[in-house]
Amino acid sequence: MLQRFLDPATLASISGLDLVAKTVVDGFVAGLHRSPYFGFSQEFAEYRAYSEGDDLRHVDWNVFARTDRCYLKRYRGETNSQLLVMLDTSASMSYGSHEVHKMDYARFVAASLVYMGSQQRDAAGLIVFDEDVVNYVAPSTRQGQLFRLLHAIEEAKVGTKTDIAKPFIHFQNFLHRRGIAVVISDFYEDPDVVVRTIEPLRYKGNEVILFHILDPQEIHPKFREPVLLVDLEEPAQSLEVSPEYAKNEYRVKINAHIEALSSKARGAGLDYFLMDTARPLDEGLREYLSVRKGIL
């Protein structure tokens, strides 16, 4: 049942990205709590004095009983970190062979990440880009940051063509603190270029996760008859393709691209995760949490 709420098709029926994010994260978290293998880190870190408005569930009542003072327990993971989500909105991200397009899926992932980050009091931020930076929400833990982020994600529209190099030059300027940088894109670019472009983020002590968003038809295309394909980023470019080619040669190429990107990314110290838009989101979130755990 929990899996159902992480199913992209189910999420697509939920109106409101905030609700989507909440559904995903709460469901994911609930699944984590039930699992003996996964879970938030509950390791005690320190006490903090109670401030008005804090959640009373975290009050250490034993201390209160002994000292008549309210102190909140603080655990590992609650330590503030920075999360920067970089969302690709190039034209190729608008492709979809089922009811959930890549763009929608990317939004779900981005929203879920910033929601989870805000839950953990991380300073979450967002960069929307295509061939250039389209929108930027600076990481912050201020009140309303989550809504700003979700709104920005929701407002992200499909842009132009992909040019990962140009926006990432500007990313350097946005990263002021160590944290986690999550790049959500379909990475239709040469793997060397991608890694070379993103790798510098790593040098600043950030953990970088590449979420490679692809539609199932992009991974395993199936055509009944010859089709005339039109490039979403360059509409003037079209090509008639036979089912046999799509079944054979294309799959070889796409698999080689994915493999190259994965190996080069890992080789450069970047985390890589391929996300099929037909599959539930929890796998990507689990990947994020494992990385976060590693840096904290």
Partner: protein
């Protein structure tokens, strides 16, 4: 090439379906947005061409399949040239007529000579068969290429006394052609009698692969006289001279006077002259035949000198024996019934029975078994022992006639038959004074000759309940008048009135005499039989009780007809030659059977040439007597070849289509 059902070619329009599917219906090239064409290369176009080419192959297969199916339905054929002239494997059949008419002149010898010349004309290795035909066809040889055996078969043919049947010959030729599956050339040597032609011309039809050559031996009909028929008694019981009536016939003959001679046991009895008109008949009566005791051979002859002497004599047999006794039982003091019964018997000329009267009190030591039949005339009381003996007699095959009158009215039941008596029926002064017989069964032997009893007046009758008895006649009030009760192998005939001219006036009517004669004949099992039978007819040799007993049959030549095994098993025998057959039956009763040939053979008029030509035309080819056939064409059906091609194409189409389908399935 042609088509047996060419209108099916219109189905070729169905080829438009694969044309539309593969060529006219263009591939959908609706633009489909895709994320990136980065991993697609230009050489995909060549794969499109390759795919199209493969589809074209599928299209070609489907088109060819549809066209071949249409072709199969149109049933194509090709004219096949048949080899002309020599028909390989042709069998020559030589059929020689050996019926009675072939005894005329030297017809049979001529036929044999001509048949042998045909056999000598056969090339070595060419097969033939010899047949002899009359009423039946006899294979004188097997189908063989041994010409000497064929000649021997021809030599072995003898003249017979049978009549001609060309229908039987045609049937045999059809049968031979069907069994051999080879072309036949049939040569028929016969006088081609018109009387041998069947009534239904269809019986003469021959197979398509039979060539017929007729060789008439007679061009014009010769004159012939014959003793056509003789009427004579089969059995006589007294020494009276018997009447014999002979009919003399002439065919294609001028007016002539013929001497007709009656012979008995080889001795001439009487001769008379008969004036026979041209192509006419004459009757001759003989009244002086004195028949001695026993079996006698009679013959009526005419003087010869015509074309066919074999039919100038007519055989008949006549047997003389003593009259068989019949017991007539009556009440003492009554004589009227006996007198009327006996007078009627004598008036009918029936001398086979001698009535022996007896009264009821004289029956103590009388055994009914020695009598042909027994009459109980209005008997009141019957000794029980005699009644029992009568019942046994009837069960054993004897027959009894019982009349009922005043004496019987006091009885509760009819003796021997055990039918209940309900009383007497009298006609009184008030109402009708007499009754009449209103319904009579004309099939009953006693009534067959004369069933007109309308004028007979019945004043009194005994009311008998019929129970299971067969009611042969009834009076006006539906009271049974004549009943037949079967007891075992015998019958009891019950007449509900008397023969004494008191209870009725039946003895005064003309119908009384045939009634008495037929009743006596029926009761006495008197089987007169004809004085002669025809060649080809059969005679029963035994009944069910004589199974396993030996029967001896001697033919006119004095030779035994049946083998040892047949003598104990044969149920009947066929008479194959004219003359006298001596049959010695298991019950000791010997019989002399006179057999004569069918007098239709006496008419030597040949069949018309038109009839013979029509007969020849029922077979294929000409009547040139064995020459080669002209070059002919035979349609050769191509249907099987087309269907094999359809099968192969369907196989190829399904294999190729399946390959494409696997890609489509995966795409789906």
């Amino acid at each position: 090439m042609g088509f047996l059902t060419p209108w099916f070619l219109a189905g070729a329009v169905a080829v438009g379906l694969p044309i539309w599917l593969h060529l006219l219906r263009k591939h959908k090239t609706t633009p489909l947005p895709f994320a990136s064409l980065k991993f697609f290369e230009k050489r995909t176009q060549s794969s499109i061409k390759h795919r199209k080419l493969r589809y074209l192959v599928l299209f070609a297969l489907r088109t060819a399949l549809i066209l071949l199916l249409v072709l199969a339905f149109a049933h194509p054929y090709m004219q096949q040239q048949l080899l002309p002239m020599q028909r390989s494997g042709v069998v020559t059949v030589v059929a020689i007529d050996n019926s009675l008419s072939m005894r005329a002149s030297d017809y049979l010898a001529q036929a044999k000579q001509m048949a042998k010349s045909v056999i000598s004309g056969l090339v070595p290795g060419q097969r033939g068969q010899v047949l002899a035909f009359g009423a039946r066809v006899q294979a004188m040889s097997e189908v063989t290429d041994d010409h000497s055996s064929l000649n021997a078969a021809v030599d072995s043919i003898e003249a017979s006394d049978t009549r001609t049947s060309f229908a039987e010959l045609s049937r045999s030729l059809r049968s031979i052609a069907n069994s051999l599956h080879l072309p036949l050339t049939a040569h028929i040597y016969s006088d081609m009698q018109a009387s041998g032609m069947p009534a239904n011309f269809n019986d003469l039809r021959l197979n398509a692969d039979v060539k017929l050559a007729t060789h008439p031996l007679v061009k014009s009909a010769p004159a012939n006289f014959t003793v056509e028929n003789v009427v004579a008694p089969r059995r006589v019981y007294d020494a009276k001279k018997q009447r014999v009536l002979a009919t003399i016939a002439g065919y294609n003959s001028p007016k002539s006077t013929k001497k007709v001679t009656l012979e008995l046991n080889g001795r001439e009895v009487e001769s008379k002259s008969a004036e026979v008109s041209a192509n006419g008949r004459a009757s001759v009566e003989f009244f002086s035949m004195d028949v001695p005791y026993g079996r006698n051979q009679g013959e009526v002859r005419i003087d010869g000198g015509d074309a066919l002497p074999a039919d100038d004599v007519f055989y008949f047999s006549v047997e003389r024996s003593d009259p068989r006794p019949a017991l007539f039982v009556q009440e003492p003091g009554t004589n009227a019934s006996l007198l009327y019964f006996k007078a009627a018997l004598e008036a009918s000329g029936q001398s086979a029975f001698a009535l022996e009267p007896a009264t009821a009190d004289q029956l103590a030591n009388v055994s009914p078994s020695r009598y042909s039949f027994v009459v109980l005339s209005d008997i009141g009381a019957l000794p029980a022992s005699f009644e029992n003996a009568l019942k046994e007699y009837v069960r054993g095959g004897g027959n009894v006639l019982i009349t009922l009158g005043h004496a019987a009215s006091g009885r509760a039941r009819v003796p021997v038959a055990d039918l209940p008596i309900a009383g007497a029926s009298y006609t009184g002064g008030e109402g009708e004074r007499f009754q009449s017989a209103t319904s009579l069964d004309p099939s009953y032997p006693s009534i067959q000759k004369d069933n007109h009893w309308e004028d007979v007046k019945f004043y009194r009758a005994i009311r008998v309940q019929p129970l299971q008895a067969r009611v042969v006649g009834r009076l006006g009030d539906q009271m049974p008048l004549l009943l037949d009760v079967q007891l075992g192998d015998g019958h009891v005939l019950v007449f509900s009135s008397t023969f004494d001219n008191i209870d009725n006036d039946f003895p005064l009517h003309a119908s009384f005499v045939p009634f008495v004669e037929q009743t006596a004949r029926y009761l006495g099992r008197l089987d007169q039989g004809p004085p002669s039978v025809q060649v080809g007819s059969f005679s029963e040799l035994r009944d069910s009780k004589e199974k396993g007993a030996a029967v001896d049959v001697m033919d006119p030549k004095g030779e035994r007809v049946l083998s040892l095994e047949e003598a104990t098993k044969a149920q009947n025998v066929q008479f194959t030659m004219a003359g006298f057959y001596d049959i010695r039956r298991p019950n000791g009763r010997n019989e002399l059977v006179a057999v004569n040939s069918d007098r239709r053979e006496s008419d030597l008029t040949p069949a018309t040439p038109d009839s013979l030509q029509l007969w020849q035309n029922t077979a294929s080819g000409t009547s040139d007597g064995g020459g080669g056939s002209a070059e002919t064409q035979k349609p050769l059906s191509l249907w099987w070849y087309v269907m094999i091609a359809v099968l192969l194409l369907a196989l190829a189409e399904s294999l190729l289509g399946n390959r494409h389908l696997s890609v489509d399935k995966e795409a789906a």
